[in-house]
Each structure stands twice: as C-alpha cells, then as structure tokens.
Amino acid sequence: MLEGNKTLVCLLIAAAYMMSRQSFAETDCNTEVSIDCGKTPSAIFASDGRLWATFVQGQYVYVSYSDNQGTAFSAPVKVNDLPEDIYTNGENRPKISLGNKGEIYLSWTEKTEGMHTGNIRFSYSLDDGKNFENPYTVNNDGLLTSHRFDQLYTSPSGLIYIAWLDKRDQVNARVSGDTYTGSAVYYAVSTNSGKSFGDNFKLADHSCECCRMAIAPAGRDNAAVLWRHIFAAGTRDHAIALLSKDGKTNGFDRASYDNWQVDACPHHGPDLAYSNDGTYHMAWFSDGNDQKGIYYGRYNFPDGSIANLRAIDAQPGASHPQVAELAGHVFFVWKTYDGERTRIQILESLDRGETWSAPRSVATTDASSDHPILVQHDDRLFLSWHVEQSYRFELLWPESGERATIN
C-alpha cells in the first residue's frame, strides 16, 4: 500500500514537472510569451535563491523569475511599454543585474535606423519586478551610430556599470575627413540606483566592433572588463582594464597574444571571472597565427602578467567559452559542434587553472542553440542555455553524488 502511494506520488510529481515545462511540440510560441519562446535569455540569482531571468520576445524585453531553480517560471512581466527593435543574438542579449535592496536592473541594445546602429537602453524595477520604469537611453551623444554590445554590472557598493562599444568617434573622424578603425569602449555609472547615469566615459579607442565584452567585479566599487581590441596591423587580440565610477582609469593592457590579423567580424567575445586571489580568469577564442582555438589564461592586474595560459580546444566547432570560480574550483565551459551534435563541455581545475580535469559533456542537442552561460549561486554552478524553443537551466556542480556529501 505504502509502495503504491509512493509510485502515485512519483507519477504525480513527474506529471507536474512535465506540465510545468511543455515540450517544444506543445508550445505555441505564436501566442505564448515565455522564456522558452523568447530569445537570448540572461539569468541571475538573488541572495534569497530566487532566479531572475530576462529575455526578448518580439519587440519587448520581459522579466520572469523561478523559485525552483528554473523548473517553472512566473508569468513574464513586460519591461518596455513601447515596442522597440532589440538585438537578440548570442553576442548581444538583454542583461540583468540586482541591487542590494532587491532592485532589478536591465540593459539591452535597441536597433535604430540604418545599418549597425543602436542605443544602450536601461530600465529598472523597485517593486520586486512587478513594474518597470520607462526605459531610457544611456549613451548621451545624440548620434545615430553604433552604441551596442552592452554589459551590465552592479558593484557590492551598489554602483551600476554599463560598458559598451561605441562608434561616435568614427562619426566625428569622418566629419573631419579622417578614418577611424573599429569602435571605442565607453562606459557610464549610475550612483542613484538606476534613476540616471552620469557622463559617458571613453575607456579605449579602436575596439573590435562586433564581439560581446565581458565584465567582472573589482573590489567594492570598481569593475573589470575584457574585450577584443584592434591592436597595430589590424590584430584583433584581447585587452583588459579596470573601470572606476569617476571615469579615471589606468588605460588598458593587452590580455592575449594570439596575433589574429583579420579585417573581419569574429562575432566571438571573451569571458572574465574574478578569482578569490585577486587575479582574473579569462576565456577566449582566437584564430590567430600564434594561437588558434579556445584559450584560458589568468591575468594579474598589478604586473600585467598572464599565468597558466592553456590551449583548451583547437578542434573545429569549439566556441563561446565561459569561466567561473566558486568554492576554490575553477570551471571552464564551452560549446562544441562535430557536424552532428552540439555539446556543452566542462573542465574543472582545483589549482586556479594550473591543471585541468579531462573534459566532460554536460549537455547536448541536435537543434539550434544559443551560447552557454554560467550562473552561480552560493556554492552551486548552473548552466543557462536556450535551445531552439526551450530554456534549459541545469545544475552543473556539485554533481548529484557530491551534493549528498555537502548536505
């Protein structure tokens, strides 16, 4: 009798789970608004364990949350009342960040008229995601040009950073008959919980114009950014810098020496994660003359040194790496495609990237898929991955066996 009840309970739980996440075949994305039907989601955990996610569907940004680690999501709340054309690709997605008092911050890139143009948009909620303030534009030059590839970060002290790639200097150069290579890296800071942003600060001239940047913590007030830059002779390797709220920086430093001389858009940006020892884990792709494939390196700001440079995967189809550190473990995740299946691979290091485990496949699909994104909460690591018309949010670490020992 008891066994029978257990079976029934299991069946009910399984049925409830299946109903909560409809399969692709049952989902009618013409009528349904959901993270499954939407495009290019981003997700972040609040300190209370609630998972907040943003995505784009049609001409709207939406926010939804999950209290069971991505199994089911709340009814999405529309962020922008007025429709906008919004960039939704692996390199340019809506971003979400949280303040210390439950504020929800969002940024995205609006497509504006003409080719390769856009505005950096920002909105926020102060009532736990029930309502969002009217979005506003953060770039302040009033030019119809490229302000795109936003990155959003909130410091422990509550400062909101948005960094992006900006072509205002190219426009100005053209007006005076000069040429200007690539974009520039600009950023702005809000010191009033998103009510407004201060000046637009220029960090660097001549960034690559079509790759996502990466942003990571730097102490209580600052932020660190990593991006693909155009060095001399059109070499599209990486640069790294620290941002501060008053716009004062020490310039930038070269972070990779791949020697990729190419007059092309790689559409393939890096990732950056803060390490507890004060250094930064970097993950990137290059097809350079000196380094080809997916790479890991650990950057040290004080002396500009790069430690533990490792070639991770030089196979064709290896792409879009992500890196994270938690509880003394470093995780490196990337995507592979072998002509038939896409796999998400993971590596683990217990010595800050000096040595790595053998790669392990943690997710797979034979459908079209977004970039993999790592999301962490306390000492748990999750994979956020949109695959065709379904959103996957899966625990990567600790694995189930290890979890038993932790609990």
């Binding site: 390769h116 079509c210 092309a264 858009c265 559409h267 079209s368």
Partner: protein, 160 residues
Amino acid sequence: MLYHRWIPLLLVLLSVQVSAEFKPFQADSLKEIQERYQGQAFLLTLWSLECSPCLRELDMLSRWVEKYPGQNIVLISTDDPSVADKAWQLIKKYKLAKLDSWIFSDQFTERLRYNIDPNWHGELPRSYFYSSNHERHGHSGALSEQMLKSWAGQLNATGL
C-alpha cells in the same frame, strides 16, 4: 464575400515568407553550387548585414563586377531569412543583383557553417577561391581588389 478582402493580405504574407531573389541556403546547398560550377573556377563569398567589413567588401565587389562582368561569383548572406528584404536592398544598392545569391535558411547556423567548412568559425566576411577542379582556399576578412586581381591572374596563367 468578406473572405475576398483577405486574399491580397494572404498573398502579401506568403510572399514575405520567401524572398524570390535569394535562394535558400540549406545543408546540401554547397553541393548544388559546386555542381552548378563544375569544371569552372568561382568565388564564394559569405557576408551579413551585421558585419561592417562585409559592406566594404560588397562595395569593392560592386566596382569589380562593373569592370569585369560575367565572372563566377556566388554570394551567401548568413542573415536570418526574416531580414531577407533588407539584405536584398543592399544587394541592389551595390548593383550585385545579377550574381548568384543565397541566404542562410536553417536556424541551425552552426550546421550550415560546418557543412561549408568545419574550420571556419563564423567570422565575416569569409571567402573561398575555387579553382576549376574545385580545389579551394579560404580567406577571412574583407577582400581587396588586389586579391581578386591576383586570383584572376592565376586563373589566366593556368589557362583556366
């Protein structure tokens, strides 16, 4: 009677689905292209609306085609078919509408890319110079007129 009012709208909607000017590029389309140019040299160029060096390249190709019409040049847009109209406007702007033009027509773009060349990572523009026996070499980045001249020169030198 009322239904008749919807027919023109339906026709418009249907015509938006498929752009008459682009051929849909799918998993087996490269084979079709190679068969079409069997025994002939050709240039295959991949481009996208989202890539500014691609526009410089299309501009250069525009001038090249004007100077040397009748060359085998195949263009493939890696954009989503939903922006086919916008992409075609650009093709027309650069006076390249007479070239063989395709657009990626499978959401699974990694598969399409891999079928073209596993060693191509999606950077744009990307070109392949095919010889008449279809040996090819790839190039990432905007082509220059000098590169096309050198390619055309090689073809002439080998009597192809």
